[in-house]
Subunit: 173 residues, 4 copies
Amino acid sequence: MTEKQQRILEAALRLFAQEGYAATSTSKVAKAAGVSEGLIFRHFQSKEGLLQAILTQAHEMTRQAFAGVVLASDPKETIRKILELPYTISEAHYEMWRLVYALKWQTKQYDTSSYDPIRLVLQHAFAELGYADPAAEAELVFMYLDGAATAMLLHPPAQPAAVLEALKKKYNL
Amino acid sequence: MTEKQQRILEAALRLFAQEGYAATSTSKVAKAAGVSEGLIFRHFQSKEGLLQAILTQAHEMTRQAFAGVVLASDPKETIRKILELPYTISEAHYEMWRLVYALKWQTKQYDTSSYDPIRLVLQHAFAELGYADPAAEAELVFMYLDGAATAMLLHPPAQPAAVLEALKKKYNL
Amino acid sequence: MTEKQQRILEAALRLFAQEGYAATSTSKVAKAAGVSEGLIFRHFQSKEGLLQAILTQAHEMTRQAFAGVVLASDPKETIRKILELPYTISEAHYEMWRLVYALKWQTKQYDTSSYDPIRLVLQHAFAELGYADPAAEAELVFMYLDGAATAMLLHPPAQPAAVLEALKKKYNL
Amino acid sequence: MTEKQQRILEAALRLFAQEGYAATSTSKVAKAAGVSEGLIFRHFQSKEGLLQAILTQAHEMTRQAFAGVVLASDPKETIRKILELPYTISEAHYEMWRLVYALKWQTKQYDTSSYDPIRLVLQHAFAELGYADPAAEAELVFMYLDGAATAMLLHPPAQPAAVLEALKKKYNL
DNA sequence: TATGAATGAGACTTCATTCAT
DNA sequence: AATGAATGAAGTCTCATTCAT
């Protein structure tokens, strides 16, 4: 991966995340990256290929974000870690997450399978704690996670911790 | 509003919602609506104007969806009605909501003010019920609402009622 | 067929014939036709579509050029008319024929079926005249036709009639 | 001439002959030859230079093909040898001839002077045999040659010898 | 009101060529 | 000799928009 390849990826990520994939022209990406437009195609074949290269990085990022969760020792810690996930999005990853969240709404790109491991771990934790309907409870948490992440990404000054506290209380954490 | 104007709006809504605003060309809209491309511009001035016309309808739809909530007599009913909101999205409005949700991620279009009345009513209800931090509690519900609506819109077969039940229990509803 | 469509076809024919299909850019065609480049694609979908539109005209031209031959009453007249074919290419059709001949060498476009009727008529005529191997004789004439047409098209000042005379003598015409 | 130079020439010949000079990119040539694109330019300066290198080989090939003819002792043998020329194209030279024939139709490249010696020898032979118009007779043979070669090159399974026989009879060979 | 021809800017992509290594 | 990153111009094609009818 040459330095210019890296610059292209960074510029594309920023622009795709901020203005949308379709609304961002490859010429804008090239200008922002300080390279010739042709270079984008030499390295990534097509605009779509550029997006895929970014999404591959995103997948790796997701994997790492979830890695910490699975290591939790008891169900309560598992749930707590998962609830805190939206608060652990580092600034460096804001744009990546924004892009992933925005792309959900574009029919062709959507694939939720990366979230399956978390879903399973969560159901298991609720089951251990004796919840009546662990699957429903897990789904509920997922909805909160999605809403919380959305809020963090759209209003970057971020969410007050009070919300998280209120939620933890509901699960006696 | 002539019949052709209506047809344009419907086609545009469907395409904007399914493929994205930027990714939908006016020519595609014209073809889908069965009208000439010129007619779009006679009626709506520009592609942006066409979007605004749709968003005006969306605003009215939102207003109506929220109207029922404010009429609730006691705080518990208020909260219950609000929690149930995502389940009341009628099929006829799916695409409109999809479009609104997708546009959130496009910097220029985002305006949350239509949700302010609900936020206030919700905070008031939690205050009446003696919650320690009504604002945080309201924010929490908002996150759930956003996540639930997202789930309904992206996986149309819809959410099981069990999730809603699990949530209601948490608020003793 | 609007006037500009016609102008595009004429300009494209001239340029494709003189400089080659691949070597002619749609921008050159547009400039030569005095229209915007986009118009080419509105009317003909693609550069390839533009070529096909021209080839459809070429096919019609070929059909007409051959129409006169089939009406001949006796075998000798048939053969004479066919031998004279290269000399009947009107100036107005030079470019069309040049294009057709040039495209023969581009793998994808080649289709000889338009010549089949002539081949059959010719074989029949030679058979009637009692030639030992009418098929071979017809093939021979075809080679001459191809060579003669090539000469006419590549050295426009044209071929001396003496060549044709020498040939006619060989068939006692 | 290094091995890679050779590989470039071979790949270029094949592609230029099959797809056309203008339609073949230097990148395609490099890939087909299994070398880097830069190497083409180090060895041949430009795409045009690469073509010229091939045409130089073609010229040598033509010279050799014609060499045998001029050595013929009597006029009849001369004519016979010339008529047989299209049948002597070796498979190894098909692509070279195809390229030469295809380039005839690209205005800039065409130069017939290599055929002049044959033309003269042929006229001389017909004059010796007492033909009324030796020049016209030679031209006629040239047209046949061109048509026959074209047929051989475009329909590789090749021409039946019967055609050649029919022709030889016309010249009492 | 409605059409569809027409445009010019800009989209994505490919090209021949150069250059540092 | 050889590579492959890099470029700028040019390629085909699409876009939003205008206008005569």
